[in-house]
């Protein structure tokens, strides 16, 4: 599963063709006619805001000869003109220009030549999803138990109306199996790296390996892992991280003292601590099947490239209207784990990929942790929870994977 280009191709077609796929955040395209280039699996798409403010997701492939219509990562345009033969389309996909039209014959209708659009486009709290499959359930139904985490966790750290907006985007390619990327969500407990494991398939099982550090994560830890349904999971670190003050237990970062001092002078100690606590992160790893990870104050979007290469597009978030010290602090804190932990995780995923691709005698990996220990139970909201050290999130992901792939 990790090594098969054939299975990867099927996954690109079906996994990213049959369910909801995250394509971007509304704040990336705030103005009418703004657009960004994205992918759905390997399909190049254009996510655009139309003139009337509504959203469109178009296959970035000219209906004429297949060339990329749009080659600019982001911009503002009401129309796209193909660079090859100058066929022109509105950003809702309508074909509005075909040079030498008479040469295509009497029966040729321009209205038959529209760009192919995603069957469904819906947004939830600013997060835009699209599906190639017209038969998907409504997005809100698909998100299932993830909705309450969004409401109570992610947005709660950004008091309305100062909602999070995506600020900048950095990209990290990884030479890893695509499934490994689901594990990245495991990796944000501070101060030391948490257990990192390697994912699996229904037909293979998974390897879970420890590196000594894992022993520090007790089953009795208050932080937890939760099954949100449809492959979505939550790693909730709030019980530990925000128990007292996340800012006080936060690792030092550039400008820490200067920001606290400046804010305290203007807002007082209590309000300052509230703002800085929120700057450290939501305390949530919200994993939305199959390609969105909301980690602390970051948004990560997974872009599969080949069977052993994934681009993780990493969006930091700022708070609109927040004091500049707060946003500067958020930036420096959002660099902390990526600089000091995530790079190591990535190295581990790459090394897993090496082992998985190059040792044909060993087919299986292991994701059984806490599968049979009986420590799971339904939480007060009815959702199944297990200790943070569980491989629950992997099992949930692959259960959904199997369901979509076999549909």
């Amino acid at each position: 599963m990790y090594a098969s280009p054939e299975l990867f191709a099927l996954e690109m077609r079906h996994l990213f063709g049959r369910t909801w796929v995250y394509v971007g955040h509304e704040s990336e395209i705030p103005q009418p006619n703004d657009f960004v280039m994205r992918t759905m699996g390997r399909r190049p798409v254009i996510l655009a805001r139309k003139d009337d403010g509504s959203l469109s997701v178009l296959l970035n492939r000219c209906p004429h000869r297949g060339a990329l219509m749009c080659r600019t990562p982001r911009g503002n345009a009401r129309r796209f003109t193909c660079g090859y033969h100058a066929w022109t389309f509105e950003n809702d996909g309508r074909c509005v220009g075909v040079p030498l039209r008479h040469a295509y014959g009497e029966a040729f209708q321009r209205s038959d030549q529209d760009m192919h659009a995603a069957a469904k486009v819906e947004a939830y709290r600013g997060f835009i999803f699209a599906s190639m499959n017209a038969a998907v359930p409504p997005l809100i139904e698909h998100l299932a138990g993830a909705r309450s985490s969004w409401t109570n966790g992610w947005t709660a750290t950004a008091p309305a109306p100062c909602w999070c907006r995506t600020a900048t985007c950095s990209s990290r390619p990884m030479r890893t199996g695509r499934r490994c990327t689901t594990m990245r969500a495991m990796a944000t407990t501070r101060p030391s790296p948490t257990p990192r494991c390697c994912a699996c398939s229904p037909s293979a099982t998974a390897t879970m390996w420890t590196c000594g550090i894992t022993r520090r994560i007790s089953t009795k830890s208050p932080i937890l892992s939760k099954d949100l349904g449809n492959g979505h999971t939550l790693l909730d670190q709030r019980p530990a991280m925000h128990a007292v003050s996340a800012w006080r237990r936060q690792h030092v970062s550039p400008g820490r003292e200067a920001a606290e001092e400046a804010l305290t002078a203007r807002y007082g100690a209590e309000e300052t601590l509230r703002m800085l606590d929120a700057s450290t992160g939501s305390g949530l790893n919200l994993n939305i099947f199959p390609n969105l990870l909301i980690i602390g104050n970051q948004i990560q979007m997974l872009e599969p490239v080949t069977v052993n290469r994934t681009i993780v597009r990493w969006f930091s978030t700022t708070l609109e209207g927040a004091p500049p010290e707060v946003n500067a602090t958020r930036m420096r804190l959002q660099e902390d784990f990526p600089s000091f932990g995530e790079v190591d995780d990535t190295a581990q995923f790459e090394s897993c990929q090496h082992g998985l691709e190059d040792v044909p005698e060993m087919e299986w990996v292991d994701i059984r942790r806490h599968m049979e220990t009986g420590v799971g139970y339904p939480d007060t909201d009815g959702l199944w929870r297990e200790p943070i050290s569980s491989d629950l999130h992997l099992r949930c992901y692959y259960a959904a994977w199997r369901q979509v792939m076999e549909a």
Binding site: T168, A258, E261, S316, A328, M331, Q348
Partner: protein, 200 residues
């Protein structure tokens, strides 16, 4: 000379305040819009030679993995900065690949030395080439230096290159020049990056 270049603040625990960001941003904007260096900002030949020696020493220490000695070339109010964009965005609202003050830079070096930084085990071998070295004075005892770099790397048998330009702010303390700012401008900083957790 822009006002910003004068205002890089002296070392204190809290030197990374908004004014410091403002000064950094102003410095970067000046670098990005720099044309021909005015005659009156060209450092004297002996200063230029000393600056080149510092850069070559820096490269040599990096390539020899003598990081504590490399760290000693930086001032107490230093910045080691690897931006994620090529547009000179404001670091107050933009994440960087690395934005290190002295404290974070020391942590990085210490961590790389523990052997537990798995992304650098084994460490990335590098050979740094610095060229096109241009210098301009920016007040008493302060010189800005722009140079192109090419870093050939080998990580566990995998060869790759990094390239772009470095912007330095150097300050003279007594006889020695020291690094106040090192901004590593990868020419493809806004595109997917491979493992850059070694010291560039």
């Amino acid at each position: 000379m822009s006002e910003h270049t004068r205002t890089l603040v002296p070392p204190t625990d809290g030197y990374f305040d908004l004014a410091h960001y403002e000064a950094l941003l102003g410095t970067v904007q000046e670098w990005r819009s720099l044309g021909e260096i005015p005659q009156d900002r060209l450092p004297p030949p002996e200063a230029y030679a000393a600056i080149c020696r510092l850069l070559y020493l820096e490269a040599r220490l990096l390539d020899a993995e003598r990081l504590p000695e490399w760290l000693a070339l930086f001032t107490d109010d230093c910045v080691y900065w690897l931006p994620t964009d090529v547009a000179g965005r404001d670091p107050r609202v933009t994440v960087a690949w690395e934005m290190n003050d002295r404290r974070r830079l020391e942590e990085r070096v210490e961590r790389l030395g523990t052997g537990r930084a798995f992304s650098q085990a084994p460490p990335t071998r590098t050979t740094h080439l610095y060229t096109n070295i241009e210098a301009l004075t920016a007040g008493d005892h302060v010189v800005h230096v722009l140079c192109q770099f090419l870093i050939q790397t080998n990580l566990a048998g995998r060869v790759s290159q990094r390239s772009g330009w470095n912007g330095y702010v150097l300050r003279r303390a007594g006889a020695a020049w020291r690094i106040v700012v090192k901004r590593i401008n990868l020419f493809d900083a806004d595109l997917p990056q491979d493992n850059n957790s070694f010291t560039l």
